[in-house]
Amino acid sequence: MSGFSATRVLAVMIKEFKQLTRDRLTYAMMLALPVLQLLLFGYAINSEPRHLPTALLVQEDTVFARSITSALRNSAYFDLVAQARTPAELDDMIRRGEVQFAVTIPGDFTRRVVRGDQAQMLVEVDATDPSATGAAVAALAALPTQALGADLKGALARPTGEPLFEVVVHRRYNPEAITAYNIVPGLLGVILSMTLVMMTALSVTREAERGTMESLLATPVEPIEVMVGKLAPYVAVGLIQTAIILVLARLLFDVPMQGGWLGLSLGVGLFIVGSLALGFLMSTVAKTQLQAMQMSVFYILPSILLSGFMFPFRGMPAWAQALGEVVPVTHFLRIVRGALLKGQGLEDMWRELLALVAFVCVVTALAMARYRRTLD
């Protein structure tokens, strides 16, 4: 009876394998997950984004200005999406996050180039995510020669090596390109989703697995009452987590806090409720706690990879960005980064807040539709 018996190992092995195949959903997810994730993230993630939205403010109408415009247009890194008329308009665009770059060609640009009098053009970079802009900023070094080399002939030609004009790069919101400024606020979104979605995803399945659901359903308690009652304690958990993360972000990482507190508070509230409601929805679908866990992992991966948390959102192909827009973390990250790093007000982030409101409503409605009043 002692010793190592291959038959006994086989007995356990066969039993385990059979149980595995009985749980269809688990099995399917184990096979589908790697394929799906590999295809999704393999194609979606690009840490050297190109075609970044760029706004242009041209304060003179000259050949040189047009040459620079077309040089930018020809570059793979910049997509000219807007022409600003005033510096204030340009500033709004970059603060709201509509563009990643704001290029200004000043009124005296051509005159100074011709005279060789320290001509400058200004490139303002939204550096909240330093990794999104690194390659593009590096490409700017070649811009003067590329743009004006053909225009400066004859008498205007310069000795090689001497710069035709200077590209002044102004990294806004994160001048030292500190990655932590971007990552730490982003972590708030990731940590909240991980803990809150998972905790509530287990809540209803646990009742079903332990058999307490039957008693609960036999009481007069209504579905929405169960949901609100179950989620409320976790709202408190989420708020405490937020407070801890923000305090540590300030104390340990010196993350700037430019304001935008009203928007941030609304965003945090909506995001917590949305994440909890999503967890509740999962728990109405999953039959076991294990399935609920798998579903939350399935949700958390795109939240990390497609939301712009880990890799620049604008680096992803259009279809992946469309997917990313569906993930609530994407909008929450924009709110948190916008508020903390840029001091965005409600007028700058209302779209993102609205997206979260829509998410909360849709998920709650689905959860209520899925929640069973009976055991049918």
Partner: protein, 305 residues
């Protein structure tokens, strides 16, 4: 006479399994009705349909005068349901479980009611103990106290005493009788014959169909079963041989004696005639409820295949 339960033609299928077929059931107010039948016969499903946990595919009726389909919510407020599996929160204390029940039923005088329930249970001192740490018998009594905290008019119990020792079962049934004396109607499913005999009346369901109904005596009389009890050394070993004889519906050994039953008296007597000799002694006895139920189970058709 007021009916606490009055349902007709209840049907319920899960997939291609027709679990409950045309079940009609009437239970008078204040009566304890035993709900019997083999495993998988549809007892739990019927109980769940009565308290609004399942929606019948077809059929109609009322519980406490409320429509079981359109007024399920109101029935939930007035009925108590105790599940087969212990389904209170094991990680809450005894008192907390009672408090939870008091709150979901929006009861007034919560503290008073919970204290009263604890006192009735004799668990005042152990109120802070986790429900999960209670023994089987205590768990069932706590579940009963929780299911009756809101003073329901109808109590549905699904095998409340499965796996509980005889003394705890007796205590449990004393409580049920006390509740019925106060006017509560009880429908209780069970596999124990002694419990069935403690009910005012019984309903027997097999393979989804209600096949017998009435008091224990009526049900026994209705099956027209004849039973002989044989005694003698080694007679219990004859059950296999006698059970196969024509006219014998069943033969079951009980310790040193053998119960032989059949519906045809002449055929049955003919079958045991060869054994009516020393050292065996035979006597006709009243069939037990168990004899009757086994007979009912074997003759009802298994429609599940």
């Amino acid at each position: 006479m007021t009916l606490a339960i009055d349902v007709r033609g209840l049907n319920k299928s899960f997939g291609d399994k027709h679990v409950v077929q045309d079940v009609s059931l009437q239970v008078e107010e204040g009566k304890i009705c035993g709900f019997l039948g083999p495993n998988g016969s549809g007892k739990t499903t019927t109980l769940r349909m009565l308290c609004g946990l399942l929606t019948p595919d077809s059929g109609e009726g009322t519980c406490l005068g409320l429509d079981i389909i359109t007024q399920a919510g109101a029935i939930k407020r007035r009925a108590g349901y105790m599940t087969q599996k212990f389904s209170l929160y094991e990680d809450l204390t005894i008192e907390e479980n009672l408090q939870f029940s008091a709150r979901v039923h929006s009861l007034d005088r919560r503290k008073e009611r919970v204290d009263q329930a604890l006192e009735r249970l004799g668990l005042i001192e152990r109120r802070a103990q986790l429900a999960g740490s209670l023994s089987g018998g205590w768990k069932q009594r706590l579940a009963l106290a929780t299911a009756t905290l809101h003073e329901p008019r109808l109590l549905l119990l699904d095998e409340p005493t499965a796996g509980v020792d005889p003394k705890a079962r007796r205590t449990f049934w004393d409580e049920i009788h006390a509740l019925a004396a106060e006017g509560l109607t009880v429908l209780v499913s069970t596999h124990y014959m002694d419990e069935a005999e403690r009910c005012h009346e019984i309903a027997y369901i097999s393979y989804g169909r209600l096949i017998a109904r009435g008091t224990a005596q009526q049900v026994i009389a209705d099956t027209k079963l004849v039973t002989f009890n044989g005694e003698g050394p080694g007679i219990d070993r004859l059950s296999g041989v006698i059970g196969k004889l024509p006219g014998v519906d069943m033969a079951a050994a009980f310790g040193q004696s053998l119960h032989v039953s059949g519906t045809n008296r002449a055929a049955l007597e003919a079958a045991i005639a060869p054994y009516r000799r020393e050292p065996y002694r035979w006597a006709e006895v009243e069939p037990s409820l168990e004899d009757v139920f086994i007979r009912l189970t074997e003759t009802s058709q298994d429609n599940f295949g």
